[in-house]
């Protein structure tokens, strides 16, 4: 009897934790998806028909056991890169990702030249 009680409690908490984990990763994923028919809103923030359908699809895919990356790939395949807020590092986005580093290096070099070399 004790074992049965323990099992019931275990299953209850396990399902609770599992469903919470799934809903938090659902939120995480939908926050990184652009609502294509809204203006400047993520799927998570939007209440449009399109966004609501996407939320259901993300939940279904998580329940099917797909990983976050697989879900992004699935949606990118259908809607293109634009649906992702976080663009992948590839030949089309090299400049986008490297420009801040480049500007940082240039800024550092200017500061170095103006203040350190001149001081010496």
């Amino acid at each position: 009897m004790k074992i049965l009680k323990f099992l019931i409690v275990f299953v209850f908490f396990y399902s609770l934790i599992f469903s919470n984990a799934n809903s938090s990763s659902q939120n995480e994923i939908t926050k990184n998806l652009r609502c294509l028919i809204c203006q400047g809103q993520s799927v998570y923030d939007s209440d449009s028909e399109f966004a609501n359908s996407l939320k259901i699809v993300v939940k279904q895919k998580l329940d099917e056991g797909l990983t976050e990356k697989q879900i992004y790939n699935f949606l990118e395949d259908r809607y293109g890169k634009w649906i992702l807020y976080d663009p992948k590092f590839d030949k089309n986005t090299y400049f986008l990702w490297l420009l801040p580093i480049l500007l940082f290096l240039i800024g550092g070099a200017i500061i170095f030249k103006l203040f350190i070399i001149k001081k010496n």
Binding site: E49, N52, I56
Partner: protein, 172 residues
């Protein structure tokens, strides 16, 4: 001669940034997804509108045949505008029209078809919009021309005279 490297470098950087933004200004700010040519249709299961029976997509779309897959709803006003084109296209012998009734009330959808005629060979329902997502659609109306289980053309928004003529030309 000492070359002034920094001002020269800064000018180059500013010119590059100017050029990128200038090019960006010329781009359209209306997003249309890029459609890969000859993309295969998705596999899905759906309820048949009239009977409520579950049907697989492979049972709907046969090989070596033209299909027009139209996403519609009775609450969608542009769907009314394009309906006459669908009715006209339904007369074509080598084209089957499949309808996806999107987030709709069955009763209202039936009344819509009663009022404007039913051009569809088969209608399936999408109560929560997930089948439309499988197709990469993001609203109603949207139409896909399919041949050999591959998407030949995608029309976002209602059909008009030019898309109607295009479909007619492709199906011939």
């Amino acid at each position: 001669m000492k070359i002034k490297f920094f001002p020269f470098f800064l000018i180059i950087i500013f010119l590059m940034i100017f050029f990128i933004f200038y090019k960006g200004l010329q781009n359209s700010n209306i997003y249309t997804p890029t459609i890969q040519d000859e993309k295969s249709i998705p596999n899905f299961k759906a309820k048949v509108f009239e009977t409520g029976k579950i049907i697989n997509s492979t049972q709907i779309f046969e090989e070596e045949k033209f299909y027009l897959f139209n996403i519609w709803a009775s609450w969608c006003l542009p769907c009314r505008d394009e309906h006459s084109y669908l009715v006209e296209l339904s007369n074509k012998k080598n084209l089957k029209i499949i309808g996806l009734n999107y987030k709709d009330d069955i009763k209202k959808a039936k009344n819509f078809l009663k009022e404007l005629n039913n051009p569809y060979n088969t209608i399936i329902t999408d109560k929560n919009g997930t089948i439309a997502v499988e197709w990469g659609a993001y609203g109603v109306p949207e139409t896909f021309l399919i041949y050999n289980r591959k998407i030949v053309k995608k029309i976002i928004g209602p059909l008009n005279q030019s898309s109607f003529l295009e479909i007619e030309g492709l199906v011939k």
